[in-house]
Amino acid sequence: MGVIYIGDRETGKTSLAMELANPNSHYVKVTHPDYENLKVMLYDDAEGRTKATDASQALYDRALEIQVELPTGKKEILLEWLDTPGEIWRTRWQQADENQPEWQKFLGSIVDSEGILLVVPPYREIISGANREDYITQQQWCNRFERWVKFFRQDCPKVRHLVLCLNKADLFCDVNKEASRLEYSPNRSPMTWQKRNAYVMQRYFRPIQTQIEHLNKNISGLAIRCFITSIHNRKLLELPWIYLGSFLAD
């Protein structure tokens, strides 16, 4: 069962995936490809950062094998990582004749998908410390999410698990404190998934809470779960995958 992994440009999708493969893990391990191979594919040593995903190809179909430690033991998820460059979400890109084959191919892959992981960036108003002007305003963030809502409703009728990851959590909260609050343990977690979601939604996704509720009611059988993620905190990074693994693992 494929999980689609999407997000706008510069939201940190590639870094998140690469960091997930870091062998220094708790409950989620990428068993294939290994960290070094993934790094060669995705990291630009000269630039000292991940390579920007090339917009000339809309769909990068990479298979990842992920092992998740659940209460009943270790389970494998075969993750079909369909990475896309941020450009493809621009209407102009989608409408250009030369991009039609790639865009249609992408829609073809997503229409049957039951799991989608959407990475969104933080908005200016919640950021403390970093260069706030580099980030979109809360209003722009809400408007952008509205376009996602339209996309999910139109093009993803079969989606059952929509995982929203507000990335770069280190820019807007104390990641260690939040990680210990939201921590997962296969034996006895301090919080249930329902409580984690309620907490993260209230605290970080409030501006789009109404849109999330609306979307939940519009796609039958859909569950939307909100997470905060950061490459600087392993516990937070693993949570969305453990959640998806609980439903999709074999």
Partner: protein
């Protein structure tokens, strides 16, 4: 081996009920009266899902189907020991869990897609001993809706020559809810007659009395014997359709085996 169909409208708790049966460690606890042994991969898998999903404070997804053949078969051996010195009785059951919309569609006059037909054929096969029908709602208009479905269901039962030998265990599910919990001891009078009078009257009138029983069941149960608050939280943002456990270590279902015992033994 007895074949049982678990049917009922959407979100009536069918899959969660089967998961609770499969996940005996938590739900049956230290009871010496019952033992449930999952017999096949599907039932072991749903037991694992109970632990990975329900016991982590999440709820199951609605069951969807593209063909009846792709639905899992859950097979269990259930052992019941009524009294300490009496030999235990055991029976094996195979369940099919049908999506709620398939059941609801039988009341529609233009129904008749392939899945619908497969569902009807499977339900009324000669080797099916009985159906466990779960209902969970009673808001305005529900009784009328359920009544139309049941009327059609009974017509189909008759046309498939099962009117005299198919047992129906009709259960009000999610009885941990405060409005229902006090009615659990006499469910026919205090739950069905009161909340679903038309549906109940139809069932009483059209089904041979020996082939029908009414039950109150609760998959999540209540918190404690002297604290009958429901052990559930209704999830926000899902139109109130999904619930999760409130206190996981206190998960103790109520009356989930009795209807199966009756369906099998009569």
């Amino acid at each position: 081996m007895g074949n049982i169909c678990v049917i009922g409208p959407r979100a009536s708790g069918k899959t969660t009920y089967l998961a609770a049966l499969a996940y005996k460690r938590m739900t049956i606890g230290k009871s010496k009266q019952f033992n449930i042994i999952p017999l096949n991969d599907d039932s072991r898998e749903i037991a694992e899902k109970a632990e990975n999903i329900i016991c982590q404070g999440e709820s199951f997804e609605p069951t969807r189907v593209e063909s009846v053949d792709t639905l899992p078969d859950y097979s269990f051996k259930i052992a019941v020991k009524k009294f300490p010195r009496i030999k235990e009785e055991s029976f094996q059951l195979v369940f099919k869990d049908y999506p709620g919309e398939v059941f609801e569609k039988i009341a529609e006059s233009d129904a008749g897609d392939a899945i619908q037909e497969e569902f009807i054929e499977e339900c009324f096969r000669k080797d099916v001993e009985g159906c466990l029908i779960l209902f969970s709602d009673w808001i305005k208009g529900t009784d009328n809706h359920y009544n139309r479905i049941i009327n059609r269901f009974l017509e189909l039962m008759d046309s498939h020559d099962r009117a005299k030998d198919l047992r129906l265990a009709v259960a009000m599910s999610k009885c941990e809810r405060g409005e229902l919990w006090s009615g659990r001891l006499d469910p026919e009078t205090d739950l069905f007659n009161r909340h679903l009078p038309m549906t109940t009257a139809t069932l009483r009138e059209k089904v041979t009395p020996k082939n029908i029983r009414f039950y109150a069941i609760s998959t999540f149960g209540v918190l404690r014997r002297n604290d009958p608050r429901p052990n559930r939280i209704d999830e926000q943002g899902k139109s109130g359709q999904a619930s999760v456990l409130r206190e996981i270590p206190r998960w103790q279902p109520y009356n989930i085996i009795a209807p199966l015992y009756w369906l099998n033994k009569g």
